[in-house]
């Protein structure tokens, strides 16, 4: 078994999966995003043959046809400062070709990929993804994307407390909307619509789906966005959550429908009984939840990648 881990080797999710794969005696190939300026790849597609070619990374030379699993968590080369144009061009070609490999390999089942970039795409737009989510039995918060301050204030009057957050996956921090304190800034909406949502009460539950396995974590916090609780001087407490089996099945179905073998699904258990889904993260930073609960998420992902 040869498994590629594409990302930053010292980043906790990649590091943890590497450890778990080695514990299973898998041949682990770390493809460091920082080394894309030096690594090389020659991808070959021949009619009638499986995707093949050669990857050279660090001191490893890998026949791509022998790769049996890929964990995809790369950092785009454009995000590394200080690269010369020629270095950036090389790194971009490397990323494009390796992405093409991950998109195509395993189409006949011999290689497992978590996750393909094509499948990760739905997360580029939260309201777009929300439309997909609601087809799988989950509710979504009432949402307004608007460039009109008057409409935002009317929406707040209709729905009560609101939060706002990015429409895309960029700079995605959930923030409480204060109609008074934020009033002066509302005029800026004219230049770019902003996403507002009704604030919902109830516990947050992050569900990690790995294949058909489910790990649910309940988060208790007074922060609007538990991921950034420390910034507001508050804390977030994590504990394993016993998810309703029917909801768990829906989570597995949703991840499968989005073609995501590995997914982080953000749920809100509203006191009136609704299960609302905020979003599906296609590249979850799961170690925060693993450390907080002891749930064996990395082990489950390693097991899935190796088919064991």
């Amino acid at each position: 078994m040869t498994v590629l881990l594409w990302g930053l080797p010292d980043e906790p999710p990649v590091h943890r999966v590497a450890d778990e794969l080695r514990a299973r005696a898998a041949d682990v190939v770390l493809v460091d995003s920082r080394a894309a300026v030096r690594d090389t790849i020659d991808l070959r597609l021949d009619p009638g043959a499986d995707v093949g070619g050669v990857l050279r990374t660090g001191d490893r030379t890998v026949e791509l046809a022998r790769v049996t699993g890929v964990y995809v968590r790369p950092v785009e080369p454009e995000l590394f400062p200080g690269l010369e144009p020629a270095e950036l061009a090389h790194a971009r070609r490397f990323c494009d070709a390796l992405t093409a490999f991950t998109e195509l390999t395993g189409s006949s089942g011999q290689c497992r990929v978590a996750n393909r970039l094509l499948a990760m795409g739905s997360n580029v737009s939260k309201p777009y993804q929300a439309q997909l989510i609601t087809r799988h039995g989950f509710g979504t918060p009432s949402t307004l994307v608007s460039s009109d301050p008057a409409e935002v204030l009317a929406f707040a009057g209709e729905h009560g407390p609101l939060v706002y957050k990015s429409i895309s996956g960029v700079r995605s921090i959930v923030t409480a909307f204060d109609p008074v304190a934020d009033a002066a800034r509302l005029a800026r909406l004219r230049w770019c619509p902003v996403q507002f949502q009704e604030h919902l009460d109830g516990p947050d539950v992050r569900v990690h789906v790995v294949g058909d396995r489910v790990f649910a974590t309940e988060i208790t916090t007074s922060a609007v966005d538990y991921r950034y609780a420390h910034r507001g001087g508050t804390t977030a407490t994590l504990r394993a959550h016993d998810l309703d089996p029917e909801v768990a099945d829906r989570c597995v179905g949703l991840a499968a429908a989005l073609r995501l073998p590995f997914a982080g699904i953000d749920l809100k258990l509203v006191p009136d009984g609704r299960v609302v889904c905020f979003e599906v993260n296609p590249s979850p930073g799961f170690t925060y939840f693993e450390q907080g609960t002891g749930q064996p998420i990395a082990a489950a992902l390693a097991a899935w990648l190796t088919g064991s």
Binding site: D39, T40, I41, D42, L43, R44, L45, D46, P47, G48, V51, G53, H90, R93, F94, D96, A97, T99, A100, E103, L104, S107, L117, L118, G121, S122, N123, V124, S125, K126, P127, Y128, A130, Q131, I133, T134, R135, G139, T140, P141, S142, T143, L144, V145, S146, S147, D148, E151, S166, I167, S168, G169, V170, R171, W191, C192, P193, V194, R274, V276
Partner: protein
């Protein structure tokens, strides 16, 4: 109202809008530039996923999702022209936001849309070029071997074209085949190639889409050279206008 969405330099879309108007349809062409300076955007998602969108343009035209009867969508870039001179980091952020907004708006329309956007391309199904090549091969189209990597000078989108150039013996000419909702709108395409094109759109999950499939054509060989969600429209002539109007008016 029929809506044609396109960039300012997409003269083929504006040609189609003129033809639709001449055919008696209420049709308005709106460019990405128009959308970039819209007076108001209002896009709502209800708790069950129901979508409603109203956009008021600077010239007073109102695009009400409920009033649209069909949309020809050829938007390739998000409407972010207002951010053209902004700090690059802010411009990139605004572009990502406007891409996400436009994707949700167009995907949520209930009327016929050609093409429904995808997260990879606002203009419709345009998969990774290597995936398109693999689908073309699986569909029975003639595909040349391709190479892609740090040693190849071409971008991924040109890999199939580069491979076809190498494989085709003798002189070749480029040819784009328009396929709308699995119908090949070109009587001169060899039957085996037309069948392959139809299979290709099915394999890509693009059964209801307007696509252009590019070939390099030699003496008897049609080599697959790429795929676009924004094909040239004028070569399709009257047949394309008739078929496209029908598609946009058939729920």
């Amino acid at each position: 109202m029929l809506l044609v969405l396109c960039s300012l330099d997409d003269t083929d879309s504006q040609w189609f809008a003129r033809r639709a108007t001449r055919a008696g349809r209420a049709c308005v062409a709106v460019t990405t530039e128009h959308l970039s300076f819209a007076r108001r955007h209002d896009h709502r998602i209800g708790p069950a996923g129901d979508v409603g969108t109203t956009i008021e343009l600077a010239n007073g035209v109102v695009l009400d999702g409920e009033a649209l009867t069909g949309v020809l969508n050829r938007v390739r870039e998000p409407p972010a022209l207002a951010w053209y001179r902004a700090d690059p980091a802010e411009r990139d952020y605004a572009s990502a936001e406007l891409f996400a907004y436009t994707l949700s708006w167009l995907a949520g329309l209930r009327c016929p849309v050609r093409n429904t956007p995808t997260p990879q391309c606002l203009a419709g199904p345009a998969p990774d070029p290597v995936r398109a090549w693999a689908a073309a091969h699986a569909a029975g189209l003639r595909c040349a071997p391709i190479r892609l990597g740090t040693g190849t000078p071409w971008p991924p989108g040109d890999a199939a074209l580069a491979g076809a150039r190498v494989a085709a013996a003798g002189p070749v000419r480029p040819r784009q085949v328009i396929c709308l909702d699995q119908e090949v709108l070109d009587p001169d395409v060899p039957p085996v190639t037309a069948t392959g094109v139809r299979r290709l759109t099915k394999l890509l999950g693009a059964e209801t889409a307007l696509l252009g499939v590019d070939f390099l054509v030699g003496d008897d060989d049609w080599w697959f050279a790429g795929l676009t969600a924004v094909p040239a429209l004028r070569p399709g002539g009257d047949l394309l206008v008739d078929r496209l109007l029908h598609a946009l008016e058939t729920p």
